[in-house]
């Protein structure tokens, strides 16, 4: 089975070398993003840098009331999206610092040494989660698999890019994406998404969003290195009591074979608008073709049986 599609994990499962499997020889190491949301400050510099560098048109000017998020989500003209989530939850052992009268110290029985001890009162837990979302550049990218024209392709860096001169706007990739990333620009007709700044990568530069990020929340680099760095960061956060910290999209054995752009999150993925257990739809495609084949034969056989049963009209047989 090692030579078959499934055995080589070309449709699903752990696939160590997607660029090599796409036919690239002597290709550079697979690169990606590690977005550490625990240090995101919600400045949206990534959104702006992305728009500027890639010359993306305006994507609507709306005031949503969704915290500071007026961008709303990824789409054809939004390749980075900073999510803002306000929660009444503690962040590790940190003080929210929003209570007028902070009862934490007294209740914990600890006298604050810095003279900042407060009078009695209920602390208000508040944490403000911010996360910069982006195309995941999946190991098994459904958008790429279902693209009928070959406009979507795997680059030598292991990323997934749309060739705008080939795309005919069939829109198949849009519902295929399990993350709701790629979308059609209606006035243009074609689909668009993050290219991980393919042009910059080719020139040895890091993507615009990572370059612009002032807190290194968006880290760019070889995927292996990022994964190691992320594991270390989670360990560090767990040690200081931020037990909510978890990695999303890091596991090469997950439903999409691991993401090229993965995240450190502080809550469940769905809180950030991410699917909790995405699976590349083409994992089941061999089974779909089999079922369709049986259905087609059922139709052919059923109708043949009908004609066989009825024979020629009016007893001409």
């Amino acid at each position: 089975m090692t030579e078959s599609l499934i055995g080589r994990n070309l449709l699903a499962g752990n696939e160590p070398d997607p660029a090599g499997d796409a036919g690239h020889r002597d290709h550079p190491p697979r690169v990606g993003f590690f977005t550490d949301t625990s240090v995101c400050i919600g400045c949206k510099a990534c959104e702006v840098a992305c728009k500027e560098w890639n010359a993306i048109p305006e994507d609507g000017l709306e005031l949503t009331g969704m915290s500071y998020d007026n961008t709303q989500g990824l789409g054809a003209s939004t390749w980075r999206h900073v999510a803002f989530i306000e929660q009444r939850k503690p962040l590790g052992n940190a003080e929210a610092g929003v209570a007028h009268e902070d009862g934490v110290a007294q209740e914990a029985g600890v006298a604050r040494e810095d003279g900042l001890a407060h009078e009695d009162g209920d602390a208000t837990d508040l944490r403000w989660l911010m996360a910069s979302d982006v195309c995941k550049h999946c190991t098994h990218a459904a958008c790429l698999d279902v693209c009928p024209t070959g406009a979507l392709f795997r680059t030598e860096f292991g990323t997934v890019v749309v060739q705008e001169d080939v795309c005919n706007g069939c829109g198949y990739c849009v519902p295929a994406c399990p993350y709701g990333v790629i979308d059609q620009r209606k006035e243009d007709g074609r689909v668009w998404k993050c290219t991980m700044c393919y042009d910059r990568l080719g020139a040895g530069q890091e993507p615009a969003c990572a370059k612009a990020c002032p807190t290194q929340s968006i880290q760019f680099g070889p995927l292996d290195e990022l994964r190691a760095r992320a594991d270390e960061r989670v360990r560090q956060l767990h040690e200081i009591g931020v037990t909510d910290a978890r990695l999303y999209g890091r596991d090469p054995d997950d439903g999409v074979g691991g993401d090229g752009a993965f995240f450190l999150l502080l809550d469940e993925p769905e809180v950030y608008g991410l699917p909790p257990d995405p699976v590349v739809t083409t994992r089941d495609l061999p089974s779909m073709w089999r079922h369709a084949g049986v259905a087609a034969l059922t139709l052919l056989g059923g109708l043949a049986a009908v004609f066989a049963a009825h024979g020629r009209p009016e007893g001409k047989r």
Binding site: G73, E107, D122, L299, G302
Partner: protein
């Protein structure tokens, strides 16, 4: 904080900032004693401001559901045409060949019309990708379309009868694939109501296709030739209805998208019309008027099924519940 931490002796209570070690050195919080306590159990699922996780299909319902319907009508029609020809039902065969040609032309036109860049439709044949049902379908149409066209034109004109028979046979061989592959086209997406039903959807679609083509045969052919069409109508409706029921049950929570809203209305209409059409065809199909009315009901039922499936998919993609809850359940089941 009412006073500044910056003093003449430097900064008081300085915390490491480079690594953003939030809360480092702070006392461990005691759990469960302070703050608000939830009085109601936590909601079944969370989402980001109710926004969909997926980007819903950008396809126009009229184009793509219409394409599903017409593709099925054409594909199953070619099989019926070949059967009619083999059993000496000349006028039925001719009528279905013509309807298949018209239907497949219409479906191809709908597909091109739905493209964001229609002038680039030929890019569909730029590559052949087994992982893309739309690529496979394009090649299938590229083979089936000319066969169906030749079958119709040669039948009507009477030219090259041997080639006409070969084209009829070719269209009949490819027709079931044309009718079935559109189910894979829909199922091979992240849309919960489509992907979750990938086992049954091809049977729903071929059943619906058989019903539509039988309906067309009942309308266009004389009563003395329509006995096979009447049986095929019953067969198609039975297959479609049964497969749809199984699919809805398998889908669990997501199955409700086939019962609610516009999709629910269309699916209920499809069921009622197809039962009506099949019963009419089976019981009164020898009478021309009943046959025509039954045929029309069957065609309408098939169209309702395709539009119903289409809208169920859109509804399931637009509500994050149908993406998040099944995935959560899967994670919990896996432990």
């Amino acid at each position: 904080m009412s006073e500044s931490d910056v003093t003449k002796d430097g900064i008081r209570g300085e915390r490491p900032d480079r690594e953003a070690l939030v809360g480092k050195g702070m006392p461990r919080r005691r759990k469960g004693r302070r703050g608000e306590r939830a009085m109601v159990p936590e909601a079944k699922f969370t989402s980001y401001y109710g926004k969909p996780v997926l980007n819903p299909p950008t396809w126009e319902p009229l184009d793509i559901a219409g394409y599903f319907f017409l593709g099925g009508l054409a594909g199953a029609g070619s099989v019926l045409a070949a059967g009619a020809q083999l059993t000496g039902r000349r006028s039925t065969a001719r009528a279905l060949k013509i309807s298949s040609l018209v239907a497949i032309t219409g479906s191809a036109a709908a597909l091109v019309h739905d493209l964001g860049r229609p002038e680039r439709f030929a890019n569909m044949l730029r590559v052949l990708k087994p992982t893309s049902p739309m690529s496979v379908g394009s090649w299938l149409l590229a083979a089936y379309g000319p066969a169906a066209g030749a079958a119709a034109v040669l039948d009507v004109t009477g030219f090259l009868p041997r080639l006409g028979r070969a084209a009829t046979a070719g269209a009949a061989a490819l027709g079931p694939a044309v009718a079935a592959y559109t189910a894979v086209l829909a199922a091979d997406t992240a849309v919960p109501a489509w992907h979750g039903g990938y086992r049954e959807l091809p049977f729903v679609f071929v059943g619906s296709a058989a019903a539509a083509a039988s309906g067309m045969a009942l309308i266009t052919s004389p009563a003395r030739e329509n006995a096979p069409a009447r049986s095929a109508a019953v067969l198609g409706v039975a297959l479609e209805t049964a497969a749809a029921k199984v699919m809805e049950r398998r889908l669990g929570l997501v199955g409700e998208t086939y019962r609610q809203g516009r999709a629910g209305r269309l699916m209920r209409a499809a069921e009622a019309l197809s039962v009506l059409g099949a019963a009419g065809a089976a019981l009164g199909g020898r009478r021309r008027t009943t046959a025509v009315l039954s045929g029309a009901a069957l065609l309408a039922a098939s169209a309702c099924t395709r539009f119903g499936v289409f809208h169920a998919g859109t509804q399931s993609a637009e509500d994050p519940k149908y993406t998040v809850v099944p995935q959560r359940q899967r994670l919990e089941a896996a432990g």
